[in-house]
Subunit: 276 residues, 2 copies
Amino acid sequence: MPTTSFLSKIEASWRGGSLVCVGLDPNPQALPPHLGEGAQASFSFCRAIIDATADKVCAFKPQIAWFSAFGHEDVLVELIDYIHAHHQTPVILDAKRGDIGETCTAYAIEAFDRYRADAVTVSPYLGLENLAPFTERSDKGVFVLCRTSNPHAEWLQNHPQSDPTYLRVVRAVVDANTQGNLMLVAGATHAKELARIRGAVGDMPLLVPGIGAQGGDLSQVIKAARTPKGGLIINASRSIASASKGEDFADAARKSLLALHSKVQALLSERTDQAS
Amino acid sequence: MPTTSFLSKIEASWRGGSLVCVGLDPNPQALPPHLGEGAQASFSFCRAIIDATADKVCAFKPQIAWFSAFGHEDVLVELIDYIHAHHQTPVILDAKRGDIGETCTAYAIEAFDRYRADAVTVSPYLGLENLAPFTERSDKGVFVLCRTSNPHAEWLQNHPQSDPTYLRVVRAVVDANTQGNLMLVAGATHAKELARIRGAVGDMPLLVPGIGAQGGDLSQVIKAARTPKGGLIINASRSIASASKGEDFADAARKSLLALHSKVQALLSERTDQAS
């Protein structure tokens, strides 16, 4: 596997001590007013967050919807290019794409060739076989939605109780993981389920949204699903990028990240102490 | 409800006698070589298919992936503008978006404000509550993936046998349909399930892919799920738009569409005869 693969990059980030991923969601209503509006404001906002946090994050996760809604595809291209050029941080494009195989060919081109993302989030609803155009790119990471952190998700994902859909997704992803680049999205708001998922997937990287604004318990997440290498990509979006809407937004983002980073570090060493 | 709502448009199409929707998937490998390459070829191809078929289709369904993969968003904007300016045909943007509610706000802006689509396809995986930013646009149609036409979909959608996920989606969509603009995607390749879906949703419009290249049985589809007003948006993509790769591709598309249209008409009147 080439050293620039997503898995190599994320493992390098973990070795560097970081398990936190910062989401880049340039919702115009969340931008600091002094940045103005439009494509330039979106770029300036994200670039400042990137530069203020890159040394302590394991990945960046831009949400494509906040670019495509406003025709800011070029901003997203430039931001990912910027990350590749100035930082070693891997980029997970949050797109939740999913379709028949032929259409997934086009979505894989979008994520990996157009945007040069290192990984992408995808949906399992049409069946994992359709995701082959993503997984065939063995240097890229493919995060399959499994148990999401939002309210109302259990209606589908935890049905039926005896053999919930999210666990079927887990088993299917393990079975389909011939390239070693399939991974899962598993929310921080369901620590018991996170533990069941970890029990089934070995050391597969898990992208864990739901810390911060959604109220997931960091301590439980780390207990439930950390691995010796790290194993977790703990996403925080609003709690970092929107820590301040003032001119100090980048400094505030860095402070918020460092606080979260320290908590993660403390929980990791606590657990190591207990284990020894 | 304004007369320009998606539902009004599709019912007008049905009154005009058409239940067939043409998919616009400008896969570069499928384009007639004489059109050349790039954005201009994509636009010329789609516009020619549109002009050759618009009088006999109930809707157009562009697949966003074949535009966004190559940075051809402007082509998609121009094509939808072209349809609105020159034809009355409603446009269903096939995007299969799905995310938490805040992100769906951005995806709804993408589909309805940026692209001016009349309807969009969405995924239920994160729960229907998240789709509110789409459904709040009461003049727009929102097609929720339910039972898709592709192989391998039953693994998730038909699990468990006693209360399959696709039927849960059906019930939840019926319950959530306070604006009257929720609809379902239900594949032509599963006529028995299509009949169960029709039995549960009243006269809700169903988008039915899987006729043509995927081998769904038109006669069974119409028997299973037509309604007095029409009820069906029967999609055909490759079998029409790729009927020829020669300079006659638009004529060939029209011939292919007219053949399908005639079959639909014959099956509809056959059924009316039997009923009378």
